[in-house]
Structures are given as structure tokens and as C-alpha cells.
């Protein structure tokens, strides 16, 4: 069975791009979320193998969403997606429980390497 992934980002373009990269690597994109709260809700529904989480989102940011998910599902595998120059936020995300991070603009190879690390 293919690994499932939930993609959380408020930009359609980013969700599409990530989705393409992950689908080509054999993942099944089972859900998308555009805000932190939607991310938490969909995680409960879908319990995917992997979550990609953008840091800056409306209505509960990505880091808060990570905390909420990790509280309920301590084994959740979350990959943080950050824009360049958000060093402090990335550190906070790691401390909140994200397993790894990638920086935008995405390089497909780096994304897939990070995904491998998160899932292993």
C-alpha cells in the first residue's frame, strides 16, 4: 500500500507543486489543508503516513498545528516547510516536534531526501 500524505499550505501553487513531487515518488496525496486548524482536523480523519506543514498559515499557524497534532499523536511524522530566512521559526518547529524541514523554493531531490529521513 502506498504511503499517504497530507499537504498543508495556504497557497494552491505550493500544494500542487509538493503534490506533484510526492506523487511522482509514489505517494498517495489523501488530503490538503489550508490552515492550521484544518490541518489538525484532517490529521484526525486521515492519520496519514506523513504530513507536510507550511509554517505561516492563517487561523492557527503551522507550529501550533504541529503541537496540537503531536499532543494527540506523538508518533506523527511531520515535515516542516519554511520560506527562506525563517530560522527562528524552523527551530521552534523542530522543538515542537517536526521531524525535519525543507526550505522554499523546493528542490525536488531535497524534498524527497527529507521525506525519506522523516519516514525512516
Amino acid at each position: 500500500m502506498a504511503k499517504t500524505v497530507l499537504i498543508c499550505d495556504d497557497a494552491l501553487f505550493m500544494r500542487t507543486m509538493l503534490g506533484d513531487i510526492l506523487r511522482q515518488a509514489g505517494f498517495s496525496v489523501v488530503g490538503e489543508a489550508q490552515s492550521g486548524s484544518e490541518a489538525v482536523q484532517k490529521y484526525r480523519e486521515l492519520q496519514p503516513s506523513l504530513v507536510t506543514m507550511d509554517i505561516v498559515m492563517p487561523d492557527m499557524g503551522g507550529i501550533d498545528a504541529v503541537r496540537a497534532i503531536m499532543k494527540e499523536f506523538p508518533d506523527a511524522k511531520i515535515l516542516m516547510c519554511s520560506a527562506m530566512g525563517q530560522q527562528a521559526l524552523v527551530i521552534e518547529a523542530i522543538q515542537a516536534g517536526a521531524r525535519d524541514f525543507v526550505v522554499k523554493p523546493f528542490q525536488p531531490s531535497r524534498v524527497l531526501e527529507a521525506v525519506q529521513r522523516v519516514l525512516s
Partner: protein, 622 residues
């Protein structure tokens, strides 16, 4: 570190320094000794270091010998004269050949090169001798805290391009913490000042292989170094970057790849125009299509600019060419270059260099007179040759001017008549363009005074055909006793050309603007003349008119209502068409014309609406 990865960079850098060396030696010869000799010395020194670093002994030795001689010139031990400069220039040429040979045949290796100590030179030494491989110089004592022998201490260096290094370091530590007990880390906290190097101290023993795997599994790890007290050294901090200062790295690119990219972009832009037409009207699409256009335009410029190089890249070797030719001909010549900053497509420049060198050598050998002759004629003893480049709207003009004796018209005509070319000789009696064509005639172009320099297989006919093959034109003006000027007019780029679209019947053709000066209407301005031919009045000139309906074999003749003015040197003619439809940028694809095709087409292109069109070469109509 695999030195083979550095060969390309070595080649680029040594070429650059050899060029600087040449330039400096010529400056020394001109009398600007002070700064120039230092520059020459530094260039030779750098060539030595580069070669030593790569382990190319022969090149390093050769460079060292040259450096030595330059040092002696610097101290005054060797006096500067033309012979010494000759010999130094020759030694520099040799060094270039040795370097080429080393690159082609030797394996680079870091075995260090034990050459004579720089310090032996005393006060003129360049500075403290540098380490053979750019290793970081160790400074300061080892880490203040001795490492406990029971503790495992591992230094981790992150990849220099790893983003958000502090977060990555945290992930590394976390990965280690999952299986082993971490006593402490240096630095204790990862924040903005983190430079990418950390030290992890474990409280327990650990299998090194497993530990390294776990560390590297966290991602973006460059080095994992297990330490003992002796090798522990201060960690690099953010203020001292772990890697060397960024340097400009040049890449060598196969030109065909650039051509492919330019082609691809050309096709994209045609598609974009189609999309713009078909989709642009719908309101929702306007913004997206507009962005597409802008992005594509940027991309196009970026790729074309990669192909563009300043003329200086080719011109800079010319002073040496002129100098050597002048020495051998025993003439004093001043050579000036103007406009070398102007940029042109690399492939055009590559092809125009040989013709220019031929013209330069001709100017030195046959153009400029010997000193006595010049003085007797009241001219300055030193001859002058000027290479001048100018940008015009859709072309680059390169003029090569000498103040010599001018072309020996009488001799050319004589040889022509002897070869049976009477009509051509008659035409050339008073017309410089006809004279040039005569000089380029295959039978005549190799002079009977074949000197070692000019007779190098590039005769005038090759010069002309090479320039024409580039879509350019060459013209000559010569005045007996005063000198000769050759002017080359070249397109700026081969990839994209600005062109006029013209129509005859219901066929459209594209005419590149390179040789076009203007477009005019033909109502009532045509004048018939005897012995024949039609002329068009343009301000105060009368231009011969060529009716393209006739040339192209149209069924409807004499329907021309517009004309374009093409220039070849000083001559202008008007080419008449039914209509001038517009102008656009086209991507010319040259072709080998099928048998029976009129020789007036230089290629084909796709117009903005996707239709194919033939590209007309106005000069071939003349």
C-alpha cells in the same frame, strides 16, 4: 578532495593569467615599466602556484623559471630591450603550451612541489610561502578543555549550503540522543551565531560506524570527525565562515547546449505569442498571459546575454598579433582599439576573429610603408592602425583603418587582366567595392608576395565568404598614399534577429534588419532611365530599384507599393515589395537550399502566427 574536479577551473584561471602576463609584458615594452613588471611577476607567480597545487610539475617549473627572470628584470639585473621582451613573450607562450600539455596528459595530484624557497629572493619576495594545497592554516592552541579519554567526542561539520544550520544541528543531536547518552554539545545552544560546526560529547561508548550513520541520517552532514585530545581544535563560529570567501566561478559550457536552449526559448516565445492572441482577449487570462510574456522575455534576455561577449575577448589578442607582425616586418606601428566593450554573439565573434587577424596582418605587411618611405612622404615615422567598433541599431560595425599607402590598385588591375578578368578590372578601376570583389576573386586572392604571415591560408576570398556566412558584409575604402579602411558590418546575434515582414502576392517574407536602413513608400517616386533600370528618389539620392515581384517570379508584376533600402558599404539599393506588413523578432533557421531555389534566401523562420516564412537576404539580391 578530487583534484580532477578542479581541472576546468585551473584551465580558466591559467588562461586568464597568461593573458595578463602577455598584456603586462607588452606594457613593459612600451615603457610603462613600474607597475607592469610587478603585474607580470605576479602573473607568473600565480601560474606557478596554480600549477604546483595541481601537481603539474613541468608547468610549475616552467612558471618558476619565468618568474625568476621577471624578478631579475624587476631588480634591474636584466635590462629591458626588445630582444628580452621577445624572449619573455616566447617563454610565456611556451608556458601556455606546457600547461595545455599537462592538462591533456597528466593526472593532477596533491604531492606538493618542492621548489626553491620564495624567501631566498629576499626583500622582493611575494610574501610568506603559501601552503601547497589551500588548507586552512591552523592557529591557536587546541580546545581549552581536554577531552576525557572515556568520552566519545565527535566533530560534525554541516554542508556549507545547508539551510537553517541551527535547526539542522538540533536534528543531528536529536538523532544521536535517540540511541546514546549525550553529555554535552559545543555550542550548548544553537542560535543565529551558529556557524555549521558542532561537537557532540557522549557519556558512553559508541560504535563509531553506527554513530556516524545516525549522524549522517539527520541530513546535510558534510564531515564526521572522531576526535582525541590531540586533534581537537577550535570550532569555526559564524563570524569565521567555514568555507573560503565566495569566488566567481566560471563554467565552461558546450556551445551547442546554449544553442539548444536558445532554440527552445525561441519556440516558447512563438507559442507565447500565439497564446497571447488566442487567449489574451478573455478577461481572466490577461494577467496570467501578461506574466508569462514578461517571464519569457526575461528568460530570453538571460539566455541571449549568456551568448553575448564583449568584443574585447577576441580583440585583446590583437595587440600581440600586430606587435609580432610589426617586429618581423621591421616597422614601428601604433595600434589602437576602440569600442571593445561592445557585446556580440559569441559564435559570431569566434568566426570573425580569423578574418580580422588576416586584415590586420595585411595592414602591417602591405598597408603600412617602411619608415623611410613614410618620412619621405611627410608622414610620421610610426604607422597607425585603428580598430574601431560601434553599435548600430541592429548591427555591429567594426572598422579597421590604417594610414598606409592604400591598396595598389594598378597592380591588382594588372594581375586581373593577366588572369583574363577584363570586365571586373574595368569595373574596379574607380569603384572600391568592385576592387574589393576583385581582390577576393579566387584566382587573385593569394598575393605573389606571400609572406610568412599573410600567406596563412586565409585569403581575401575566405575573409569575404566567412563574413557573408555570418550574415555580415564587408566594405573597403582606399586612398592612395593615405590608407585603407575595411568596415565589417555584423549582426549582433544569430539566434534572434529583428526583421521586417514584407509581402509579394500572398506570400510573406522576413528580411533581417542587419543591412536595412529604412523603409519607404513607392507612390510616384519612381523614375525610368536610359540605358535602363528604374530609380527611386530618396531625399537627395537616386537609388536603383529592384522589383521583387520580378525577382520572385510573381504573376502580377509592377504591383510594388513599398520598398526597403538595403546598404552594402556606401551603396544603397531599394528592394520593392507589394507591402511592408510589419516587423517582428524572428528565429532564423538556416538551411541548405534545395537545387533550383533562388539563392536569395538565407533560411526560414516561423512567424508569430505560426506560419512559416522564408528569410530573404537583401545583399544577395544586389
Amino acid at each position: 578532495m578530487d583534484l580532477r574536479d578542479f581541472v576546468a577551473l585551473y584551465v580558466t584561471e591559467t588562461r586568464e593569467h597568461l593573458r595578463l602576463l602577455d598584456k603586462a609584458l607588452l606594457a613593459v615594452e612600451r615603457g610603462e615599466v613600474e607597475g607592469a613588471i610587478d603585474e607580470a611577476f605576479r602573473a607568473a607567480h600565480t601560474l606557478k602556484s596554480l600549477s604546483a597545487t595541481m601537481g603539474f610539475r613541468s608547468a610549475a617549473d616552467q612558471a618558476h623559471a619565468l618568474e625568476d627572470r621577471l624578478h631579475r628584470v624587476r631588480t634591474g639585473e636584466l635590462r629591458v630591450d626588445a630582444d628580452i621582451i621577445d624572449s619573455l613573450l616566447a617563454a610565456a607562450d611556451d608556458l601556455g603550451r606546457v600547461i595545455d600539455h599537462a592538462v591533456a596528459t597528466e593526472e593532477p595530484r596533491v604531492d606538493g612541489w618542492e621548489g626553491p624557497d620564495d624567501e631566498e629572493r629576499g626583500p622582493f619576495a611575494v610574501g610568506a610561502s603559501e601552503p601547497a594545497d589551500g588548507a586552512q592554516v591552523e592557529s591557536g592552541p587546541a580546545s581549552a578543555q581536554p577531552v576525557d579519554p572515556d568520552q566519545v567526542s565527535v566533530r560534525v561539520v554541516l554542508r556549507s549550503d545547508a539551510p537553517v544550520k541551527a535547526a539542522r544541528a538540533m536534528l543531528v543531536v536529536r538523532a544521536v540522543e535517540q540511541r546514546w547518552r549525550v553529555a554535552r554539545t559545543e555550542p550548548a545552544v544553537f542560535d543565529d551565531s551558529f556557524g555549521g560546526e558542532l561537537r557532540i560529547m557522549l557519556d558512553s561508548s559508541a560504535d563509531r560506524a553506527e554513530l556516524e550513520t545516525a549522524i549522517r541520517g539527520a541530513g546535510e552532514v558534510e564531515l564526521v570527525i572522531f576526535e582525541d585530545a590531540a586533534s581537537a581544535r577550535p570550532l569555526a563560529r559564524a563570524e569565521q565562515p567555514v568555507v573560503e570567501a565566495p569566488r566567481v566561478v566560471q563554467v565552461r559550457v558546450d556551445q551547442r547546449r546554449l544553442d539548444e536552449i536558445a532554440d527552445g526559448i525561441g519556440e516558447l516565445s512563438l507559442l507565447e505569442r500565439r497564446l497571447r492572441r488566442e487567449l489574451g482577449e478573455k478577461a481572466g487570462n490577461v494577467e496570467a498571459v501578461g506574466r508569462l510574456s514578461a517571464l519569457l522575455s526575461d528568460l530570453q534576455h538571460a539566455v541571449l546575454s549568456v551568448r553575448m561577449v564583449p568584443l574585447a575577448e577576441a580583440f585583446e589578442r590583437f595587440p600581440r598579433v600586430v606587435r609580432d607582425a610589426a617586429r618581423r616586418a621591421d616597422k614601428e606601428i601604433e595600434f589602437r582599439i576602440e569600442g571593445e566593450g561592445i557585446e556580440i554573439d559569441r559564435s559570431i565573434l569566434d568566426d570573425v576573429v580569423d578574418p580580422l587577424i588576416h586584415l590586420l596582418r595585411n595592414a602591417v605587411d602591405h598597408g603600412i610603408e617602411a619608415e623611410e618611405e613614410r618620412v619621405a612622404a611627410g608622414k610620421p615615422a610610426r604607422g597607425t592602425i585603428v580598430l574601431r567598433a560601434e553599435r548600430a541599431r541592429a548591427s555591429v560595425r567594426i572598422a579597421l583603418e590604417d594610414d598606409g599607402r592604400g591598396v595598389n590598385r594598378a597592380r591588382v588591375l594588372e594581375k586581373a587582366r593577366l588572369a583574363g578578368l577584363h570586365a571586373e578590372a574595368d569595373a574596379a578601376a574607380h569603384d572600391d567595392d568592385a576592387l574589393l570583389r576583385l581582390m577576393a576573386h579566387p584566382g587573385l586572392s593569394t598575393s605573389d608576395e606571400v609572406t610568412e604571415l599573410s600567406g596563412r591560408g586565409v585569403g581575401m576570398d575566405v575573409v569575404l565568404s566567412r563574413v557573408r556566412a555570418l550574415g555580415g558584409a564587408i566594405d573597403m575604402r582606399t586612398e592612395p598614399g593615405h590608407g585603407t579602411t575595411f568596415t565589417l558590418r555584423l549582426p549582433i546575434t544569430l539566434a534572434l534577429a529583428r526583421a521586417l515582414l514584407v509581402r509579394v502576392d500572398d506570400e510573406e517574407y522576413a528580411v533581417p534588419l542587419t543591412h536595412i536602413s529604412e523603409a519607404i513608400e513607392l507612390d510616384g517616386a519612381i523614375e525610368r532611365r536610359n540605358p535602363g533600370g528604374e530609380y527611386v528618389k530618396l531625399r537627395d539620392e537616386s537609388l536603383p530599384l529592384v522589383r521583387m515581384t520580378r525577382v520572385l517570379g510573381s504573376r502580377h508584376v509592377r504591383t510594388e507599393r513599398a520598398a526597403i533600402v538595403a546598404e552594402l558599404g556606401q551603396r544603397k539599393i531599394a528592394l520593392g515589395f507589394d507591402e511592408i506588413v510589419g516587423h517582428e523578432q524572428i528565429l532564423v533557421k538556416t538551411f541548405d537550399a534545395a537545387a533550383g531555389t533562388l539563392p536569395i534566401f538565407s533560411g526560414a523562420t516561423l512567424l508569430a502566427d505560426g506560419r512559416p516564412a522564408l528569410v530573404l537576404d537583401p545583399l544577395s539580391v544586389i
